[in-house]
Symmetry: C2
Subunit: 384 residues, 2 copies
C-alpha cells in the first residue's frame, strides 16, 4: 500500500483537511478516487519547451555526436523551420500536463542570433497556461557566453523581463573560459537575486573543477539554495575521494543536482547524493527536438529511467526515484507550498496501482491531474 | 513513412500476397488497418517465464547486489511462495502476447533442488499456448553446473524431454571452472544437436576469455549458428583491440549476442556487432521476479531501451534497435519462416504511428497482434 485510505478536502486551491470519512460539504465537488493512489503532482524541472518539434511531423535525427555538432545542427534547423516557439512550448507543456506535471522549469535558448524571440515565446505560453501550471524560466545561453559577445546583455535583459534563473553551459567546454562564463552568470544572478542552473556536460576532472568554482561563487554571493547543476556527468566519473569532497561542497552550499537519467553518459550517484542531503531532481530534458528524437514528457517514466540507470530495485530506492520527480523538483524550484499536507497547494496526480514502487515500474495512465484544486487532465486527456 | 501502403493476403497462416488493392476473396476476413504500421511480430528471446511473480501482489525487492545474493534470495522465496510455474509462465506469456510477442525463448531454472519442476511447468504452459505462440526452452542451470553435482544429468534429461537449448551461467564466476562448465554444456548440446545460450555476466577479461572458449567449442562441435551469449557485459568493457578480435570470433562462428539493455551494467557495442555481421537480439529478461521489480514484457519498449542505452538517435539506428526485437530474435531462434514476405508465417503487430522510428520512441498500444494468421490480441486485450 502507498498509505492509508483517506479523503482530501480542497478549498481555495489548497489542502484544507486530510482524514478518513470527510463529509462532502455543500457546493464542493466530490471525486471518488476508487482506491487509486494520490501522489503530489510531478515537477518537470529541466525542460526545453522552446525547441521541441512536438506535434510536428517526424523529423529524422541528423546531428553529429558532440555538443558542438548539435548546437550547429539545431541552429541550421531553426533557420529552416521557423517554428513559432510559443506554439511549440504550449504543445509540449500540454503533453506534460496530461502525464501529471504541474510545475515546470524550462531552459530557453538565448543567443545573439535568436535574441529574445524564444524567451518571449515561452513567456507567452506561460501566460496562456498560468491558470493550469507554473513555468519557471532559465535564461539559457545555449551557444556560450564569453565566446559570443553580446550574450551577457541579452541574459541580463531576460532576467529583468521575467526569467527567474540564469543558465550556463559547459563554461570550460563551450566557452573555453570557465571563470569568464561563471563570473558573468553568477554576476547577473547576484545583481538580480536570480537563481542559477548550469548545464554541465564536461566530464571527469574538467567537470569537477567547474563544480568547485560554482561552489566558490555560490558562497561568495550568498546564493546557497538557489543554484543547481544539471547533468553533472562528472560526478559519475571521478574517483571516490574526489567525489566525497564534491558532495560535501554541494551539501554545504545547498547546490542541487539535476539528472535526466542519460542513456549513454555516466549517471551521478543519486543515492549517495541523497544520503548526504543534496537535493536531487529531474526533468525530461529535450523532447523530440534537434538534440534527440526521444521523450514523452512523462515524469513517471523518468522516475523509472532514474531507477533503472541507478540500479535501484528496493522499494526505498524506487521511492527515491519518485522523490526526484516530485519533492526534489519542488525543492529545487523553491516551492514552499508543495506537498501532501494541510495548507499545501492542491497539486495531485491520481493513478491506479498497488504501491508507489509498482507505479514507478508500471507507469499507468494518470486518472486525474489536479493543479491548485482544478482538474486539468483526466484519463490521459486534457481537461483544460 | 514506414513503407508504401499495401494489402496483405493471408492463407493457411502464411503470407500469400502483398500488393496494393487486393480484393478480399470470399470466406476471408478483411481487416482495415486504418493506415497503421504493420511490423513483423516481436520476438522476446530471453525470458524467464518460470520465475516471474506476474499477477501476484507487489513484492518489495529484497536481494543483495551480487549474482550469488540473488540466486540465494530466489531459492528462499521459491521455498516460501511455492508459486505454480505453469500458471506463472502462462500469465507472463499472455502479457507478452498483448504487447505483440509471438515467439519466445525462455530460460528455465533447473538445479538439484528444483529438479525438472519448473521445466515441466513451462512445458505445460507451452502446450496450452501452442496455437497462439511458440516457446523455445533453454534448460538453464541457474545455480551452476560442475559445482552442483547431479545438475548435468538433469540438463541432459530436459534436452531429451523437449528443451531445444542448453544454457549456462558464468562458467568462471559461478562454477569457478570455466572449462568444466563449458565442456558439460557443449557436450550435451553436441550429443543431442541442441543449441546453446549462456548467461555471461562475468566482466572484462574474465568474461572475454570465456567467449573465446565458447568459440573454440562451437567450432570443434560444428555448432556455428546455434550458439548465443546472453548479456555479454564484457564486450562493453574490454579495450578496442581485444573487442575487435572477439567480434571476429563471434562472426566467424556465427555466435549471436543477446542484450536486454541493462540499466546499470555496460552495454555490448550493438552497432559494431551488427556492422560485423553478428546477430544481435534481445529479450525482457526477468520481469517482476526475485531478480528485479522492473519489466513489462513489451519488446517495443525494449527496443527503446536498447536505443537509449546505445545512444542511437538516427532513423537507421532506431531501426537497428527494432531489428533486434524482430528479425534478430527470429534469426537467433532459427526461424526461417519469419518476415514480411510471401511464404512467411503471418506473424504481425499492427500499431498506429508515423514511422518506424516514431514507434520506437513513442511505443503506442498494439492495435492487432497476429500469430500464423490468427488475431491473438486487439487494442491491448487478449483475443485468445
Amino acid at each position: 500500500m502507498a498509505g492509508a485510505a483517506a479523503d482530501v478536502l480542497v478549498k481555495d486551491g489548497h489542502i484544507a483537511r486530510i482524514a478518513s470519512g470527510i463529509e462532502s460539504p455543500p457546493g464542493i465537488t466530490a471525486i471518488d478516487g476508487q482506491a487509486a493512489i494520490l501522489l503530489p503532482a510531478f515537477v518537470d524541472a529541466h525542460m526545453h519547451l522552446d525547441k521541441t518539434f512536438w506535434g510536428q511531423p517526424w523529423r529524422p535525427h541528423q546531428a553529429g555526436p558532440s555538443v558542438r555538432d548539435r548546437i550547429e545542427n539545431e541552429r541550421r534547423l531553426r533557420r529552416e523551420l521557423r517554428l513559432p516557439p510559443d506554439v511549440q512550448a504550449e504543445r509540449l507543456a500540454r503533453q506534460a500536463i496530461i502525464r501529471g506535471t504541474v510545475h515546470i522549469r524550462t531552459h530557453v535558448d538565448i543567443d545573439t542570433e535568436i535574441g529574445l524571440e524564444n524567451f518571449e515565446g515561452v513567456m507567452a505560453a506561460r501566460s496562456r497556461l498560468r491558470d493550469a501550471i507554473t513555468i519557471q524560466i532559465v535564461a539559457f545561453p545555449q551557444s556560450g557566453v564569453v565566446s559570443r559577445p553580446g550574450t551577457a546583455d541579452l541574459l541580463d535583459r531576460a532576467v529583468r523581463d521575467g526569467a527567474e534563473l540564469i543558465g550556463g553551459i559547459d563554461p570550460a567546454g563551450i566557452d573555453g573560459d570557465a571563470a569568464g562564463q561563471l563570473d558573468v552568470v553568477f554576476g547577473i544572478a547576484g545583481r538580480h537575486g536570480a537563481g542559477v542552473d548550469i548545464h554541465l556536460h564536461d566530464g571527469g576532472e574538467v567537470g569537477a573543477s567547474q563544480i568547485r568554482m560554482m561552489a566558490d561563487r555560490t558562497r561568495a554571493l550568498g546564493l546557497a539554495g538557489k543554484v543547481a547543476v544539471s547533468h553533472a556527468f562528472c560526478l559519475g566519473m571521478v574517483d571516490d575521494l574526489a567525489l566525497g569532497k564534491l558532495i560535501e561542497l554541494l551539501a554545504e552550499n545547498r547546490i542541487a543536482i539535476m539528472s535526466a537519467a542519460p542513456g549513454d553518459r555516466p549517471m551521478p550517484p543519486l543515492r549517495r547524493l541523497r544520503d548526504a542531503g543534496v537535493t536531487v531532481f529531474s526533468g525530461s530534458d529535450g523532447v523530440r527536438d534537434a538534440w534527440t528524437p526521444f521523450g514523452t514528457a512523462d515524469m513517471l517514466e523518468r522516475a523509472m529511467l532514474l531507477a533503472y540507470r541507478s540500479g535501484f530495485r528496493t522499494d526505498d530506492l524506487l521511492h527515491a526515484a519518485l522523490d526526484a520527480v516530485t519533492r526534489g523538483g519542488a525543492a529545487a524550484l523553491g516551492r514552499a507550498d508543495y506537498g501532501l499536507a494541510v495548507g499545501c497547494r492542491a497539486d495531485f496526480v491520481v493513478a491506479h496501482g498497488e504501491t508507489l514502487g509498482e507505479l514507478v515500474v508500471a507507469r499507468p495512465p494518470r486518472a486525474w491531474v489536479v493543479s491548485a484544486g482544478r482538474i486539468i487532465a483526466r484519463d490521459g486527456h486534457s481537461a483544460l
